[in-house]
């Protein structure tokens, strides 16, 4: 493996600086965001690198659990932030964290104990990257689908209520919006699977090849990851949309948009 020096990273950073300068010159209003996002990448990844270094040297299931909880909390906050009309109070937070916990953690656990079977199963070298990739993708899927669900429920309030007036139950009345929301949440993952290898080389596989792994091994891991991500995102999105679509109504099948923050 070819080790990267500080100057190598500086060259890549110079490209970002050039882009920021161009954005400032053409008044695109992206300069600030670009710089903040780049600094966040730098600080967050360096910190994770340091934590992983310690964790790899002394594998500890409690420390691993703590890190997993921090990752889940950060992902839940992000899901909430990406929605235009999230649920009020702790409900929104609980819904996203619960759905991600059920899907990502279950799929990661299954992969670690049944497929990879490393000893110990919680070996951080496998557990953290796997959970990270699953959480990241599930987070995007859940955020997209919940945003679509609440926005469409808001926009199509009259249609939902007209269906209720004709005697449909709440889940039938909102069924078309649920389908669209699930599709919105799953489409990026399905597209990634459909174009993998043809349009782009997936990031993890590219990373492994750059780090010196045999291409066939990297491909096998990438297939595993893509399948796990799709399953995790699918289960998580399904869970979140099912619970959210029920919570949008009360026990008398009335549409309760007052539960959403506007």
């Amino acid at each position: 493996m070819i080790h990267l020096s500080f100057y190598d990273l500086l060259i890549a950073a110079a490209l970002i600086a050039l882009l920021a300068t161009l954005s400032w010159h053409y008044r695109l209003g992206l300069t600030g965001q670009l710089i903040v996002a780049s600094l966040r990448t730098l600080v967050q990844l360096l910190l994770v690198g340091l934590i992983l270094k310690v964790l790899f040297e002394t594998p500890n299931i409690w420390l691993l659990t703590l890190i997993a909880c921090v990752m889940l909390a950060a992902a839940s906050r992000e899901v909430l932030a990406r929605q235009k009309y999230p649920f009020k109070g702790w409900w929104g937070y609980g819904l996203s964290s619960g759905s991600m916990f059920i899907s990502s953690f279950t799929v990661t656990l299954l992969a670690l104990t049944v497929i990879i079977e490393n000893q110990p199963w919680y070996s951080p070298q496998y557990a953290i990257p796997l959970l990270g990739m699953l959480l990241g993708n599930t987070m995007t899927g859940i955020a997209l689908s919940l945003d679509r669900l609440s926005s469409d429920a808001y926009r199509q309030k009259n249609i939902i209520e007209q269906r209720l007036m004709l005697g449909q139950n709440s889940q039938t009345a909102i069924h078309h919006i649920k389908s669209d929301s699930l599709r919105a949440g799953l489409m990026p993952t399905i597209n990634a699977m459909a174009t993998a290898g043809l349009v782009s080389l997936p990031g993890m596989m590219t990373g492994q090849i750059l780090a010196g792994s045999p291409p066939v091994e990297a491909v096998k891991y990438q297939i595993l990851i893509l399948f796990l991500i799709t399953a995790g995102t699918g289960f998580g999105t399904l869970c979140a949309v099912s619970i959210a679509s029920r919570h949008l109504f009360d026990e008398r099948h009335r549409l309760r948009l007052d539960k959403l923050r506007r």
Binding site: N158, E161, Q162, L164, M165, G167, N169, D250, R252
Partner: protein
């Protein structure tokens, strides 16, 4: 019965509460049974609300109504090819008449009609009134008819109420 009242006096809200679409403290009875003794969808099949502005979710009339509803459609002046019509090309008056047929298709025992003839001319209003009254007679059903038109109220209703300062007061016809 008909209900009249100024805009914003609570006529539509009352109809929505009767259809159990908005949370309320009241108790509603139909033939001695309280609304809570039925599930909300069962209740709304019996107590059907037609809002002032009906909405549609499929492209054509035929996706909302079936051939068996043609007698009602023809009674309101529609030709037999109405089922192939595109919803987007309908006038607000046509939409209102179709919404009435859609409501009657579910055979409710109580019709809650929120200004059902607001966008209709005199001839269509008459056809609508005739259809509603014959339905009520045939099905032994009742209707709560919100209307701004005092003359219409006297034509269709046996009891008339008016909203005044948030109270529903009886009025002589």
């Amino acid at each position: 019965m008909s209900i009249r009242g100024a805009s914003g006096s609570g006529k539509s809200l009352l109809l929505r509460c009767l259809a159990d679409l908005d949370p309320h403290q009241g108790r509603i009875y139909l033939n001695g049974a309280e609304h809570l003794s039925l599930t909300a969808p069962q209740w709304r099949c019996k107590v059907g609300l037609m809002p002032a502005t009906p909405v549609w979710w499929y492209d054509t009339v035929g996706e909302h109504l079936e051939r068996k509803h043609l007698p009602h459609l023809e009674a309101l002046g529609f030709s037999s090819d109405v089922l192939s019509w595109n919803i987007e090309r309908l006038s607000s008056g046509e939409q209102q008449r179709l919404a009435l047929v859609r409501l009657l298709a579910h055979e409710p025992e109580v019709l809650l009609l929120d200004e059902p003839s607001a966008n209709l001319d005199q001839s269509n209003t008459q056809q609508m009134e005739t259809l509603v009254l014959s339905y009520l007679k045939q099905r032994q059903a009742v209707a709560v008819w919100v209307s701004h038109d005092a003359e219409q109220a006297s034509r269709v209703a046996q009891q008339c109420f008016v909203f005044q300062q948030r109270h529903l007061l009886p009025q002589t016809l």
